[in-house]
């Protein structure tokens, strides 16, 4: 076997490669990766009633045999847990959430200017102090808190908009689809960051403006994804079956379609929080986002740039704050993508 299986061979451990080999049937639309192994092994048949004792075997009893009960979510979690990078990301996110929740009770007032100016890291000020004598550690903790807040709120808003628009376009199709999707195409035709700058020009600076800007620029991708999911799922036989039974449209959308287009949205949410945090930092860095004295990590990096040669720590700690936060969410997003077997995002 050795020589004929070159290194580049499709080696996704059996789940897909081998499945095709073994299978004849047209099991086209199973989306879960694990399904592959199951099909390969003819696992669907379950235990097949081994070791049945008595002489006359009750054949139809084996119709009763199904595998051990496990939900799709449990399967996904099992895959996620096996992914070490993803678990590391989850750990980072959990840690940052802890910092954001508990941190404010522990650290000094980030706005207090009672330290010495530009003091290097000491026992008193773990991350040193900035030009105005504010404690950098406290500012980073509050900065992470702010980043998470902005990331969560902006992503929540954009996901909601995206789902509603995508669902309308994908379910009703026709004119509403054409109009909505053309609108999305047009907005996507403007480079993302330029659009954000335009929005900031119009709305102004400040926390609310940043959140609105991020939400308004980010929903496009979600809408497209949800629409694509709807277009695909609405043609599936179980949706037809629901229609055939007479299930009302509202219930079909909520019970039959939405739950089945959610996997990519979950991935988008995780990645979206990361990108929102990154974008906020960039806007604040450019001076069009959050303004002083609110402790934003991006703004702190911007303020450190003139002093970077002498006081590197002023740049380092807030920058690490951004990197770790974003990294956490991106890793979780990646892990979810693999665990939920989402493609094309």
């Amino acid at each position: 076997m050795d020589l004929t299986t070159p290194p580049g061979h499709p080696g996704e451990p059996i789940t897909t490669g081998a499945q095709e080999l073994v299978n004849v049937g047209g099991h086209a639309t199973t989306s879960e990766g694990e399904q592959g192994v199951a099909e390969l092994a003819g696992l669907e048949g379950g235990l097949g009633g081994d070791g049945a004792g008595g002489e006359p075997v009750d054949l139809d009893a084996s119709l009763y045999d199904v595998g051990p009960s496990r939900s799709l979510a449990a399967d996904a979690w099992r895959r996620f847990r096996r992914n070490r990078l993803a678990m590391f990301g989850l750990l980072l996110v959990a840690f940052l959430l802890l910092v954001a929740i508990v941190g404010p009770f522990v650290v000094k007032d980030p706005l207090s200017q009672r330290g010495l100016s530009r003091e290097r890291p000491t026992n008193q000020h773990w991350f040193g102090t900035d030009r105005l004598g504010r404690d950098v550690f406290a500012r980073v903790v509050y900065g992470v808190r702010l980043s998470l807040f902005i990331g969560f709120v902006a992503t929540a808003v954009e996901t909601l908009i995206g789902i509603v628009v995508g669902a309308i376009a994908g379910w009703f199709r026709g004119w509403s689809d054409t109009i909505l999707m053309r609108f999305v195409d047009i907005l996507l035709g403007i480079p993302y960051f330029v659009l954000a700058l335009v929005m900031v020009t119009i709305i102004g600076k400040g926390l609310a403006a940043v959140i609105i800007t991020l939400a308004i620029t980010a929903w496009l991708q979600t809408a497209r994804t949800v629409r694509a999911g709807f277009l695909q799922v609405r043609e599936l036989e179980y949706v037809e079956a629901a229609k055939a039974i007479g299930v009302p449209t509202k219930r079909i959308i909520i019970r039959h379609v939405l739950p089945n287009v959610f996997q990519p949205v979950i991935v988008l949410v995780a990645v979206g929080i990361g990108s929102a945090i990154l974008a906020e930092a960039a806007l604040s860095f450019l001076g069009v986002g959050i303004s002083d004295p609110t402790p934003s990590l991006g703004l702190m990096v911007a303020q450190a740039q003139t002093e970077v040669t002498t006081s590197f720590y002023l740049l380092f700690f807030p920058a690490m704050g951004i990197v770790i936060t974003v990294l956490g969410f991106l890793l979780v997003g990646d892990g979810l993508r693999d665990a939920l077997d989402v493609k094309d995002i």
């Binding site: 299986t5 789940t15 390969l40 003819g42 669907e44 097949g48 139809d60 119709l63 009302p248």
Partner: protein, 724 residues
């Protein structure tokens, strides 16, 4: 047919007859590493094939037959471990170097895959892909290779090969793609071709063409063929020898005649008796193999087949000891502990596996009567008693369904329309089954969905008990939905993966009776029981079930509202053969008990024959012939119906050997641009000028009508050549 085309495996101890086998596989095992541990896909397979012969490897999904094929050319992914010996032309392939394997692949052993669409590269011209192969194995110029490619395309019957050679795969139809694959496989004069389900993805008339091309060419070029398939009918007509596989093991092997007529393994016997046939007694119920396909992660101990075997016994060791492969006749081997007993008792011959005490005889009589007289079966249900018996349950009048087709013109502003269904009329009585057959693109599924009002019709009327369905739906959609139900084709797509079986089955009760899940628990349990599942399954998700089990859940869902009519859209075509019979029998039993009518859509004429009272044949959106089962299967008048029947392989080697086929030319034309006049004329051997200009109307009497200018006059004779 020579007797000893295959040498018995070495373990049998008999001396090999004259003539060295071309390929000899012995004690082959293949296992895959997975996250859940090693999976043994193949667990000891022996077979061999002589030059120029055809060996069929038969098995259902998960039997390991494709893995076996892939392992010969070492095309398995790196997670696979292959053991045993594979000797090709005296050379041990498992020990061969990679460079040697590359010479073997394509040059000496060529392969044909199941789906010709994905097996060819979409970004290269078809010719380019053949030339590429020729140039790997032959030191010839590109121009010469191209010439050879054109020759090969011509040889497999592709029209205008010099033009086709420069086209891409998406410009080829399904049948042509598979012909191109065959051309490619033969282009370097291999000694052996491995064909892995080469016709499974094709329509039945195209399947007949492609198989003919393959076997004919292989014979002329003296190329041996290993044919991997799940279809015993195909095997009967083509193979010299058969190896039957089950759960990764060979269970039986021998000449075609031996395996079909002197069956030595209960699994093979079970497969044969569960297969619906175009000939034979239609009122004899199919005998399914009970149980479910085995799990390869946790294969049964002893004989893998024992959990599904009627004759498995502890005393014989079926549950604990792996049965050895034993030779029963010369060159006929089987792996069954009780084979000798069973053969001696005549239990494995066809027809003997049926349970004589089966209570379907009454049903059979009723059906025979229904079929013979073409009057509706008088099954009374409470609902029907009140309805006027003169009005048919379902009446379709000139039903038409158009779809928007591809965009036309440079700007794509206008769109063509495609008539998926046009001018279809028929009636369906209470308790009756109308089978609808046709190849892909004939509009049969669309028609089913129009009847269900899942798609709005664009013309004509559908009357349910005399009331226009379009009005009915407007007035009381829910009421309509409780009278007509549907069972879908794909058991994997027809259940919502995020709803438990219980939730899915409770939904009809919620919609139609306002009962919540707790209130409908008893009904759900009863439904599960009716379709042969356990009430405890209500809490499980669809992915935990096998295909056959899922299809039963789909049937239960349709039954929940106690409909008068069920539209069955290819309900068994995605299931393994051994599972199909069980579902067909369930459907028959339910109809007998509950008296609903079936609109049974299928592409498989033999399945339709087993369940229908009347049959309609569709071609490109139109019904070309409709009549009672007897009329269709005994005296079909339309050439297309004849061709369809002729293309269906019959699992009977003696019959298949003498049988002549009507081989239609080409593929089903695209419904976007159907031929003028009679749509079938482009493939019809009787077509004349009138067929080109004038579209034939349905003519005949009330029970049997057909749309043809030159109807066939002779009665159906399975195996006869072109009728006149």
């Amino acid at each position: 047919m020579a007797d000893a085309l295959i040498t018995p495996s070495a373990s049998d101890g008999t001396a090999p007859p004259a003539g060295r086998p071309l390929l000899e596989v012995s004690d082959l095992t293949v296992s895959f590493r997975t996250d859940d541990g090693a999976v043994q896909a193949v667990r000891g397979v022996d077979f061999s094939i002589e030059p120029g012969k055809v060996l069929a490897i038969v098995g259902e999904s998960g039997s390991g037959k494709s893995v076996t094929a892939m392992s010969i050319l070492k095309l398995l992914p790196p997670s696979a471990t292959v053991e045993g010996t594979i000797t090709f032309d005296g050379e041990d392939l498992l020990a061969a170097k990679a460079s040697r394997m590359r010479q073997v692949r394509g040059g000496e052993i060529a392969m044909i895959f199941q789906d010709p669409l994905t097996a060819l590269n979409p970004v290269y011209k078809v010719g380019h892909q053949i030339i590429e192969m020729i140039q790997v194995h032959r030191k010839i110029s590109k121009a010469d290779a191209r010439k050879r490619a054109i020759e090969m395309l011509d040889l497999v019957g592709i029209p205008q090969p010099d033009k086709r050679v420069d086209q891409y795969t998406h410009e080829f139809s399904g049948g042509m793609r598979q012909r191109a694959m065959i051309a490619m496989a033969l282009s370097c004069d291999p000694k052996l071709i491995i064909a892995d389900e080469p016709t499974t993805a094709l329509d039945v008339t195209v399947q007949a063409q492609v198989l003919e091309v393959l076997v004919d060419l292989a014979e002329r070029l003296n190329t041996a063929v290993v044919l991997i398939t799940h279809d015993l009918g195909v095997v009967a007509g083509m193979a010299d020898r058969i190896t039957v596989m089950y759960a990764g093991r060979m269970v039986e092997g021998g000449t075609v005649d031996d395996v079909f007529d002197a069956t030595a393994h209960p699994y093979t016997a079970g497969l044969l008796s569960s297969l619906p046939r175009l000939d034979g007694d239609v009122d004899e119920p199919l005998v399914p193999i009970g149980g479910q396909p085995p799990s390869m992660l946790n294969p049964p101990s002893g004989c893998s087949f024992h959990p599904r075997c009627k004759w498995a016994s502890e005393a014989a060791g079926c549950m604990s000891v792996v049965p050895p492969t034993v030779e029963h006749l010369s060159g006929h081997v089987a792996a069954c502990h009780r084979a000798d007993e069973l053969i001696a008792a005549g239990l494995l011959t066809r027809g003997a596996t049926g349970n004589p005490g089966d209570d379907t005889s009454g049903q059979a009589a009723a059906r025979a009567q229904a079929a013979g007289t073409a009057t509706p079966v008088a099954v009374t249900s409470p609902r029907e008693a009140s309805a006027a018996s003169a009005v048919p349950l379902l009446q379709a009048i000139d039903v038409e369904k158009r779809f928007l087709g591809p965009r036309i013109g440079v700007l794509g502003l206008s769109r063509s329309t495609v008539k998926a269904v046009s001018g279809v009329s028929f009636t369906l009585e209470r308790g009756e089954t109308l089978g609808v057959v046709g190849e892909s693109g004939c509009g049969k599924s669309t028609l089913g969905r129009v009847l269900m009002r899942l798609l709005p019709s664009t013309g004509g009327q559908v009357l349910l008990a005399g009331d226009d369905v379009a009005d009915l739906e407007k007035q009381d959609k829910r009421k309509f939905r409780s009278r007509v139900q549907m069972v879908f084709q794909d058991p994997y797509a027809s259940l919502n993966p995020r709803m438990t079986i219980g939730e899915a089955l409770a939904e009809p009760f919620l919609i139609h009776q306002g009962k919540n899940r707790a209130a409908s628990r008893a009904e759900v349990s009863e439904l599960l029981r009716v379709v042969g599942l356990s009430p405890e399954h209500a809490g499980r998700y669809p992915h935990e079930f096998s295909g056959g089990q899922r299809q039963r859940v789909g049937i239960a869902r349709a039954l929940a509202v106690e409909p008068e009519l069920i539209v069955l859209d290819e309900p068994v075509s995605a299931l393994d053969v051994s599972i199909q019979a069980g579902v067909v029998n369930l459907l028959r039993k339910l109809q007998e008990e509950r008296g609903m009518a079936y609109f049974f859509i299928a592409h498989d004429l033999s399945v339709v024959r087993h369940i229908s009272d009347r049959v309609a044949v569709m071609y490109l959106g139109k019904i070309v012939e409709i009549g009672t089962r007897e009329q269709i299967y005994k005296e079909a008048r339309h050439p297309y119906t004849r061709a369809l029947m002729s293309a269906v392989p019959i699992p009977d080697p003696a019959l298949e050997r003498v049988r002549q086929r009507i081989i239609l030319e080409g593929d089903v034309p695209s419904p976007i641009n159907p031929p003028s006049g009679c749509h079938f004329r482009t493939r019809c051997w009787k077509a004349t000028e009138i067929c080109e200009v004038e579209e034939p109307e349905l003519t005949g009497d009330a029970s049997h009508s057909f749309a043809c200018h030159h109807p066939v006059e002779t009665p159906v004779q399975i195996g006869a050549a072109l009728p006149t």
